[in-house]
Symmetry: C2
Subunit: 399 residues, 2 copies
């Protein structure tokens, strides 16, 4: 039997998926599970999106342009313009989800063995995509005490080597919910300029910024236009995760023409998703206002409930729909498994994501969990009650 | 400005796309172009597929399972059973087109620097996917004189080194239309067994086998179940190229569990495409019979017309919807460009794919073109008339 590749062998398994068999067993026992473990929103996809797909007049479902339909890319420029991101259709490649944008960006910008700096905790799949592209992840720690603000620039400089080729950030952040300030992004800009690095920025949660705080894109940063690659997706924006429509965006023409060769090899992004996404650009502002109001209410409830629990600390995030909480527990992996395997409160339990999966440094985040507030307020209330009860009796409690 | 990766820099551009600007210019001059250059069929997508998408009751367009919807994979097993391919849903990962199946298979089975043997001419994007996965392509020549039959096993053995990790074939073949015989596949099986290689087989054209010839899958070969990875796609089967639905299939559990980690990192395949593809499994047999009848008529016409032209030789393919013709010309790249740039016959011309792009060996196929018979008979008649007229006056004619 031939052996699989070393890359495949060492490819990290998703930290959340390890818990899936325990969740399935719990369900079989009749336990209701509140899923706060994944970023699958319960928000309805806009009617504009769904109707466009329903009414599309298709006879032959053809390949689209490898960079995505030109009509979609053209209209998308107007969308970005509203965020004062000024691009033209050739600066955009439509991808199969944000995932493919990350994959193509890594292959385009990084040689095998090159290093990418990522503030941790970070979106766990950056690990897998880096592994697939043979890129070495160099994590630098942000801290729950500062709400996961950008680590000091000195910390970045400490890990910069001749192999460092770029930085990836997620803003607003998954899993932290942190929204980078103008000062932080200007500091990053200076760093990127100083060392001539690529700055990859995953900004798929830009619609979800709260408390009047300003969303600043890496595309707004003067003087590093050739260094910046924006990674985007409609999955969260329109609650259309299954559409698999994302985008890779850059003003760097060398990057775009190389990225297009990868895009051409795989022929085209999904046609139906593009039809929906193009139509969804006309989604009324009120849709987003309603969604935002809902998320703010959920966030306020969850963060308050968490901080009321003894020994629990949860900074209040300003964006996305996640928060990270520090719990009075020995080990988040064990605790999250225990919640599914041994605990129930009135035949209910809660599924959380152990934060360890979002850190690349071994033993980091062992007493933290990520909570996605993607359920309605009533479910969140029940979920928080479960968590409180669980913490009361968890055998590995530390205070 | 940071530099792009060596991989991106040396990523091969699609050979056909080089001609696109010339085609666009020709169109602007009012020349009608018969597109025989790409495998985009004009056949209508089955109503079962299109209706399922139209009537799908979706409120939240969610992620699917990373391996694809279980209902789809379960039903797909019945489809394969009709081809006496016996698999279960866990042997299948639904991918974003056949392209992603190839990408994941290469990353799963091959280390950087490993070698893959491919009979040439071959599907040009195997080059790009191999480059992306840092896999070295070792071409071995098949010949137009034998209709592109499998090269002798001795030719495979000549290029086998300690770095050889596998072989990829396409059956029925793109770009050759060749359908491998039982004897050829049994010989391949023995080779694969002897050297313990992976055998990747791209069988996306299995619906298109002609003249009563038997389609044999690598999944039918006894004794190499752990070596075989089947790469599939619905793009051609249902004329649904834009759906981006393919599959990676293997009985090798180590391969499947590693491949699933790559699939999990990118979250899920497209939802709409899966809905359509699942419904299309109920497409009546008459649909395929009609399509086959149509392709046979087209093939017969094109191959006969080509062989009637002076100095032209085109073996009659038994599968897919391509043929390769040897033309009395100095250089296929120049000729195909000339057809678009300088030639027209009654304001019409024909776009062909130079076969050079399907060979990895330099200077191979310089007097060959690939013709995709994806237009109706009347258009094909006009296209062949254009080609005949072009050959009459082409300045680089060799006889």
């Amino acid at each position: 039997m031939p052996t699989i590749s070393n890359k495949a062998d060492s490819m990290p398994a998703s930290p959340i998926r390890k818990l899936v068999p325990f969740a399935e067993a719990a369900k079989k026992r009749g336990t209701k599970i509140y899923h706060l473990n994944i970023g699958q929103p319960d928000i309805e996809t806009p009617q504009s999106f769904l109707n466009a797909v329903k009414t599309a007049d298709i006879k032959v479902l053809e390949y689209s342009h490898s960079a995505g339909n030109e009509s979609y890319r053209t209209k998308l420029c107007n969308y970005y313009k509203e965020y004062t991101i000024n691009i033209n259709p050739n600066d955009i490649i439509i991808t199969c989800g944000g995932s493919e944008a990350i994959e193509i960006a890594l292959m385009t910008c990084f040689n095998a063995g090159d290093e990418i700096i990522i503030p941790e905790p970070f979106y766990a799949n950056y690990n897998g995509f880096s592994k697939a592209a043979d890129v070495i992840v160099k994590p630098i720690r942000s801290s729950i005490e500062t709400g996961f603000a950008l680590p000091p620039i000195a910390d970045f400089e400490k890990v910069i080597t001749p192999k460092t080729k770029g930085i990836i950030i997620c803003n607003p952040g998954n899993p932290t919910g942190y929204l980078y300030t103008k000062e932080e992004l200007l500091a990053l800009r200076d760093l990127v300029k100083k060392y001539d690095l690529f700055l990859l920025s995953d900004e798929v949660y830009r619609e979800f910024c709260y408390d009047g705080k300003e969303y600043i894109s890496v595309m707004h940063l003067d003087g590093i236009e050739e260094n910046v690659v924006l990674l985007d997706s409609i999955s969260k924006r329109y609650s259309a995760c299954g559409a698999r429509i994302g985008a890779l965006i850059s003003k760097n023409k060398t990057v775009m023409s190389a990225a297009l060769k990868f895009a051409q090899a795989r022929l085209s992004p999904p046609s139906y998703g593009q039809i929906g996404a193009e139509a969804a650009l006309d989604t009324p502002k009120s849709y987003f206002e309603d969604v935002k109001t809902e998320y703010i209410a959920r966030r306020n409830f969850v963060v308050e409930a968490l901080n009321k629990m003894e020994g629990v600390f949860c900074p209040k995030p300003s964006g996305a729909f996640y928060c990270i909480a520090k719990l009075p527990i020995d080990n988040a992996d064990k605790f999250c498994q225990w919640l599914l395997e041994e605990f129930n409160y009135n035949h209910q339990t809660v599924m959380l994501a152990p934060a360890t999966g979002f850190y690349s440094t071994p033993n980091a985040g062992t007493n933290e969990v990520r909570i996605a507030y993607v359920l309605n307020l009533n479910d969140l209330k029940n979920a928080m009650e479960c968590l409180q009860q669980a913490l009361n009796i968890y055998p590995g409690k530390t205070n």
